[in-house]
Subunit: 368 residues, 2 copies
């Protein structure tokens, strides 16, 4: 396999843009990524577009804005892991020599309120409403609290940390500090998950330019960020632990790295309990010790394993098709030491993690 | 690149199945393909699902029926070229050594009536209704008739041929013979396109198992069918001629073959004029001579360049996400001499062609 480099990244700020189309949002992100990469659009050889809710061939609509050059354009969907799945397809296509330069564009415009109707078609889970995400995560939270003694305060601290981090991210939908008390007393959505423990429904877009290492020299002289590992798995045993564990193991193995080597991680904190469980599945602590990890401040920006310095889904927002791509943007900015007031101290490696309906989980590892 | 073999193919008959889900249809096709390949589901290493209208993570819902084994599952959308785009992704993933065995599953359930609302988001074309497919093809037909003297009877003969072929295909939605007169006097949809010149709105599914050549020996001893070439392009100059020409040139070049080497072709005959234009763009005749090609019977099953012996989209049906995969099924059956009463005489090569909204076009070439 050829070495694959993230040549450039770009985003459109998350928020609510009723007057903007998918293409309006995505065009901004794509142009930012191309500018960051110093790669002219005409040199891009393939485009992957990631989205869940857009109509047919949205990638073509976006690329038309940039000036159609005739390249293959492929639209990818994998629920909340759509963006990271698109990154994986582009990574492999370049790594195996199909193309030298790819752009991955993730975009979404979200409805307001609780997301439902996802998950397995015609399934009992779906008929029972277990595909409503806050309900599903509330059950996970209750199970974790029962099994390990995890507390509501520990859950709330994830929200406090990520909202604080998000204040330093210019792309955040919400840049506001909250206290544990405010998080716990915000509107109850599904016990024990309160409103401030749920990611907002946001619109936004992110883009990443990937290059074969042997061509990057032509374009820019930024710190090289390599895609070092990728894992994508689908739920086997109806166990969330299983999919994050297995996806991360696949990525660690490909990268030749382990959890202790990770300098920062952007994880799927759609709900606070998610981040705590993912600490454990990603190997940042032993099973059941996720609550302690947040208590000890180890996942803060200045901790030994900073998690979601961007503010995560909780603060930046979670436009479904964008998220996996936005995580890569953050990791790249961090590895280049360009993250301003939310900069982790000189990280050498970063990890991204998304998971979603249908039991999909994807993990990527980046190095410099 | 490793050589990639189509190890098995399978379909669910096209029709209208209001009581069946996407997964119901796709499961049948997938099981048929796995049985045909003699490959146990547990040995499949990646799944690509192709659909336009299904909800999120339909591939995961389908694979759950087969017994989730934890593999990566990727949902692909590219309008009418979704199925062939998924074939291309799987072809490259195996060809470049990522996996040894992949399944591609294409499925769709269609609304009744004219398909609208596709095409570029927020575009003038869309606002003007030019994204209504019969209208778009009617304009192409009028232009072709004006420029080259193509006749309404020649258009109708495409429908007559493909409906006749479809009578011998057990998977056809419509198996009924029509005369030129019946085609021309059927309900006018958009002048000169009459009802029997439009593909029906059908539900259906198709699946293909792709293997690296070096593992196929373990599984079956059928005639080996190789994927020899692939082209995928996106409209550059708002010219349909351009995309089919360029996609086929890319596929011909990869395969080291030309139009004269093709033993049969399954082309995108969503509307009769489409097939005539595609004859020309695929290089089966010179520009403007498509009408003559159908007049001379050269694209009949017993002609020198049989086109859509399956009955094509006009007779089999056009469940969007299924079509590109269904075309591969037909080509494989033909190359194995298993096509019964619609068998082309001992073809050595086959070509598939899909194109759709967003200006997407994909061409694949298969050899034995």
């Amino acid at each position: 396999m050829h070495q694959v480099v993230v040549a450039g990244v770009g985003m459109h700020k998350c928020g609510r843009y009723p007057d903007k189309t998918y293409s309006d949002l995505a065009e901004v992100a794509a142009l930012n990524a191309l500018e960051d990469a110093n790669v002219p659009w005409e040199d891009v050889e393939v485009a992957y577009a990631s989205r869940v809710r857009a109509g047919s061939t949205i990638g073509q609509s976006i690329c038309r804005r940039l000036g159609l050059t005739g390249i293959p354009i492929i639209n990818i969907e994998n629920a909340c892991a759509s963006g990271s799945t698109a990154i994986r397809e582009a990574f492999f296509a370049i790594g195996h020599g199909l193309y030298d330069i790819a752009i991955v564009i993730g975009v979404e415009k979200m409805d307001r309120g609780v997301i439902g109707g996802v998950g397995e078609e015609g399934s009992l889970d779906r008929d029972l409403g277990m595909n409503l995400m806050p309900a599903l995560y509330a059950m996970k939270a209750n199970a974790h609290m029962y099994k390990y003694g995890t507390t509501k305060e520990q859950l709330a601290k994830v929200s406090v940390k990520n909202h604080k981090n998000g204040c330093f991210n210019p792309y955040s939908h919400y840049a506001k500090v909250f206290t544990v008390e405010e998080v716990l007393t915000s509107k109850m959505i599904c016990d024990p998950i309160t409103l401030l423990q749920c990611c907002p429904t946001s619109d936004g877009a992110a883009a990443v330019v990937l290059c074969a290492e042997n061509v990057i020299g032509k374009y820019n002289s930024k710190t090289k960020v390599f895609v070092a590992g990728s894992g994508l798995v689908t739920e086997k045993y109806n166990s969330e632990l299983d999919i994050t564990t297995r996806a991360s193991q696949a990525a660690y193995e490909m990268a030749g790295l382990g959890p202790k080597d990770i300098g920062l991680a952007e994880v799927h904190d759609a709900f606070t309990i998610g981040e705590i469980i993912h600490y454990e599945c990603l190997g940042f602590c032993a099973p059941g010790e996720g609550g302690r990890l947040i208590d000890e401040g180890r996942t803060e920006i200045n901790g030994d394993i900073p998690v979601s310095p961007s503010g995560g889904l909780l603060s930046r927002g979670h436009p479904l098709g964008m998220t996996g791509v936005a995580q890569v943007c953050e990791v790249v900015w961090q590895l280049r030491n360009e993250a301003g007031d939310r900069q982790v101290r000189d990280p050498k490696t970063g990890l991204t993690h998304t998971q979603g309906a249908g039991g999909v989980c994807s993990v990527h590892i980046f190095t410099k």
